[in-house]
């Protein structure tokens, strides 16, 4: 049945759905983020939860203190090399299906602090990121937009077939190796399975 036909039926008061849609609809509207702030962006994350922006409209107001109960990690702020192993550990402790939002320039790439010796140049070196929200810090509206984008992403996930969602594929690792504190840097400095540095060839 095509989408147009279904739309036509809906106009007549007949709601057709599939288990997949119902399941994704439920999941996407009750995302529980991990209560976990890193830096400046965390304040905007709190602001997004307060009365003016009210993240509860999107069903994501239950910030869980424990990673075991959360299914969304909002990496809100600069991840330092000292903090990176702990972020990866928190990610490993979260149950599948889990999603990650990199909020702010620092979480995406190191941002203004990119030149720092103790700053991780993007959390995507160690854990997979679903949504990137640029800004320094992003406004709470931007976070809400990122959240709705994530909801779209969840709604589009397939439970079976060739394009099955990541968390249902058997080869999905779920857990990622935790880097060690080295003598000069993190060991390894990134997860090669996830990240390969982009090369920007300059024209001669």
């Amino acid at each position: 049945m095509s989408d147009a036909e279904r739309e036509d039926l809906r106009r007549h008061g007949i709601l057709l759905t599939s288990l997949e849609e119902l399941y994704n609809w439920g999941r996407s509207n009750s995302i529980w983020p991990l209560q976990f702030g890193l830096a400046c962006c965390a304040i905007e994350m709190i602001a997004a939860a307060t009365a003016r922006f009210d993240i509860a409209r999107f069903g994501a107001e239950i910030f869980r203190p424990s990673p075991r109960q959360a299914d969304l990690m909002i990496v809100s702020g600069t991840v330092t090399k000292k903090m990176a192993p702990l972020v990866v550990r928190l990610w490993n402790q979260m149950p599948e299906p889990k999603y990650c939002i990199a909020m702010g320039a620092c979480a995406i790439s190191g941002g203004p602090f990119k030149q720092g010796y103790n700053v991780l140049k993007g959390i995507d070196r160690f854990i997979p990121v679903d949504i990137y929200i640029p800004g320094c810090p992003p406004r709470p509206e931007a976070l809400l937009h990122g959240l709705t984008q994530l909801q779209e992403k969840i709604k589009a996930e397939r439970l079976a077939g060739p394009d099955t969602a990541r968390h249902l594929r058997p080869e999905n690792p779920g857990e990622f190796p935790i880097p060690d504190y080295g003598a000069h840097d993190l060991q390894p400095p990134n997860n090669p399975a996830l990240f390969s540095p982009p090369s920007l060839p300059r024209k001669p």
């Binding site: 000292k82 030149q115 720092g116 003598a183 090669p192 390969s196 090369s199």
Partner: protein, 240 residues
């Protein structure tokens, strides 16, 4: 409030064995400082804290500073007599002198009791930057120096003798370097992209003269955008 010269003279009469030197600040602000030597620093600090005339009971700020070895080229004009009997030639003779570097700890002191508005600044200098980097800790005198001295130990590598708990403050325990030193080379794990902070990248390039395109240049004989296995873009850090 007495001037810094008067304070220095008073310290010298009180501690005849100590060496107290006035360091003038050439800048616009009239903040001059007293250079103490390591042996007598804690006694003098205690005296300054309890002395009723200055009563420096509040140590506001402790800063580490790194002054690397400096090569000074001195040019002297020497007249060399001409062996042929002509007039003496004036030749510029250049002598290179290596001014040894040192690490420095700077303490900004105020008086809360007297509500002083100008700081009294103490400076302590180590002998060199490599092995003789011990200074007396002033944490027993002012506890506010506790975390700040730990931070200096962490970032500069000054060892404060008599500090109750000298550990790294900001970096992790297994970390070996002292990153705020001027000659520290950060692990070069970012990709080249044009930013206003190009200086950092230029410096990194000098340290890592890699043939690969780590810093954006494509090596000869390689298509842009490809990574040859012999020369991967994620190379382990070459440490000096």
């Amino acid at each position: 409030m007495e001037s810094l010269e008067q304070l220095r003279d008073r310290l010298l009469t009180r501690f005849p064995a100590a060496k107290v030197e006035l360091v003038l600040n050439p800048g616009a602000s009239p903040e001059h400082s007293l250079l103490l030597e390591a042996a007598s620093a804690r006694e003098i600090a205690l005296f300054l804290r309890d002395d009723p005339f200055v009563k420096l009971d509040y140590c506001s700020n402790v800063t580490g500073l790194d002054w690397p070895d400096k090569e000074i080229i001195e040019t002297k004009k020497v007249s060399v007599p001409d062996p042929a009997g002509g007039p003496a030639k004036v030749v510029e003779e250049k002598t290179k002198r290596l001014q040894p570097g040192y690490l420095e700890a700077v303490y900004h002191l105020y008086s809360m009791a007297l509500k002083s508005t100008a700081p009294v600044i103490l400076r302590l200098r180590t002998v060199n930057r490599s092995d003789q980097v011990t200074l007396p800790s002033l944490t027993p005198v002012w506890r506010s120096a506790d975390f700040q001295e730990r931070e200096i130990y962490d970032l500069y590598g000054i060892i404060f003798e008599g500090h109750p708990d000298l550990r790294r403050l900001l970096m992790w325990d297994g970390f070996k370097d002292h990153p705020m030193r001027k000659d520290y080379v950060a692990p070069d794990d970012f990709e080249w992209e044009p930013t206003p902070h190009g200086v950092v990248h230029e410096r990194a390039k000098a340290h890592y003269p890699l043939p690969g395109d780590r810093l954006g240049q494509t090596p000869a004989g390689q298509q842009p955008g490809t990574v040859s296995p012999a020369n991967p873009t994620t190379q382990p850090e070459a440490k000096p």
